[in-house]
Symmetry: C2
Subunit: 318 residues, 2 copies
């Protein structure tokens, strides 16, 4: 992938995605002894950075495309649903039948058809492939797609500009990491625009496939598929496109506990007045609780969180 | 006051206050049948728009000023404390001894000296006047001050620009209103920059002194001093400087219940992923639950809220 692809995606996104703010809280900085900037992608349309990649991919489809399909129980599905609706394209989101009702409702409210499947007895890929073949739909992958990575890279272009405006020329850029689409996109953007800002991936304990892959030089998988509150970023292994990019450009990965992610959610509530989901708070948790550069930029990648879970997190961690 | 004063304040604020985003949520628009834009001042430094007016006033002080003093149990005090600290000025905030501990701590953490007084037995104004005289401090009023109003007006300049970028040329601009500093500042800015955007003040039931003053043409007071969860905007009467500005420029005031403000907090959590305090949510509540223009812009003026109160609000209203 080249910087031109990211610039082109950013041009397609202009006026459609939100330029999210780079936030900072003086009292948080004072309490933790470093300058902490937060790129608030929870304020992006649909509540996560995923809208960037979705719009980038959908807007790059050839004329005559009938519609799109995505597998997702969460943020990627909502991003694709809104991007498709705004392009006037049909959209099918394949979701597990045990997905939270609010996520099913929201995906439908964005205009998508939701097809539910049983995780235990049905094959998601087979259902999706059959639907794509029957209806002529185009599959939008969540991270292993050049247009999706390029779209996420638009966030990195904004970080480069916003960091310069703050006088920040050298920093770790901590990125919440599942398959690595956002991390890889930001890394490519910063390589071109601000090479002394260095991406470091952030993952929850037990799901640190990217950190282990980067340190070992070989693609590693996670032993489990579930078991962390950071549901948005639990992927089985790094992407085939994203890992080589991050192996070349990223620093050592960081890993935080679920409790640290929840503590970061509570501090983001009090000091930044933003709503984060656990998976969207791991980079801030790493900024707060791990050794980093003295000035650190972290993505707050999403804020789609159940109100009851959020209320419990405030009770336990605020 | 003239538009030049607001432009001058905005110039002093540039690079020091945050340009807050104008947010929008497609599903909220769909659910309520109007286009709703939210100016997220909860993301401003110190968690409310008050930092704008504080910085404007502090930065306009003559050379040689020793320090500043403000009366506040909340947002104005924190705004003044940070603005003074960043100007290297001494700062005293006079607070009631029953103010929440977290507000006292935060005000101190911004570098201010906190002087506590007993609401029942002591005279706040006498304490402040004596301190100003003894130490040569300059009093920064919360709203009845031209430099403070001009600073809040910088928010209106941003709204004018951001509305134009969204293609919005005609709309009600709903503003959370206590003494009317933010409302008056925004109204003056819009008069100069976007005259078809019309300010309407928003207040909680029982504390609708501004709405009654605007409709009667005479300055009205509130029967009570406390009794709403919207603590940030409970003032006894409109400002002497702000009321004439709003009488000339604002449309009819809107009034919402505490329950509606709390419901707006919960919807802002789910759809916009921002944290609002009750007083910062009354304009959004008016946008949602009152008759307005089909496209409406509302300020979300602050987000300094106790975590336990916020958690209860989610439990009751989300």
């Amino acid at each position: 992938m080249t910087p031109d692809q990211i610039e082109a995606a950013a041009a397609r996104l202009k006026g459609h995605a939100r330029l999210t703010p780079l936030l900072n809280a003086p009292l948080l900085d004072a309490a933790f002894g470093k300058r902490i900037f937060v790129k608030a992608e929870c304020l992006q349309l649909t509540g996560s950075f995923k809208f960037r990649g979705a719009w980038s991919a959908v807007s790059a489809l050839p004329a005559g495309t009938k519609g799109v399909l995505a597998y997702s129980s969460g943020n990627h599905g909502q991003g694709v649903a809104l991007a498709a609706a705004r392009h006037g394209l049909a959209c099918v989101i394949v979701m597990p039948s045990d997905a939270p009702a609010v996520k099913v409702e929201n995906t439908r409210a964005y205009g998508a058809e939701v097809v539910l499947y049983d995780r235990a007895t049905e094959d998601r890929d087979a259902i999706g492939a059959a639907l794509c073949a029957d209806r002529g739909l185009h599959l939008i992958k969540p991270f292993d797609d050049a247009d999706v990575i390029a779209g996420q890279g638009s966030c990195g272009l904004e970080i480069a500009d916003q960091a310069r405006a703050e006088g920040v020329t050298e920093a770790d850029v901590l990125v919440c990491c599942g398959g690595g689409g956002l991390s890889a996109g930001i890394a490519l953007a910063l390589e071109a625009r601000a090479p002394r800002l260095r991406v470091r991936t952030c993952e929850p304990e037990g799901f640190d496939d990217m950190a282990r892959s980067l340190s070992s030089g070989r693609r590693q998988t996670n032993p489990r598929a579930t078991g962390s509150v950071c549901d948005a970023i639990l992927t089985p292994a790094p992407g085939l496109l994203t890992l080589p990019i991050l192996s070349r450009l990223a620093g050592p990965g960081l890993v935080v506990s679920d409790a640290e992610a929840c503590r970061a959610m509570a501090l983001a509530f009090s000091h930044l007045r933003i709503v984060l989901e656990p998976g969207g708070a791991v980079a801030l948790a790493a900024a707060l609780f791990r050794d980093t550069s003295p000035t650190v930029i972290c993505t707050a990648s999403g804020g789609n969180v159940d109100p009851a879970f959020f209320a419990r997190t405030l009770a336990d961690h605020a």
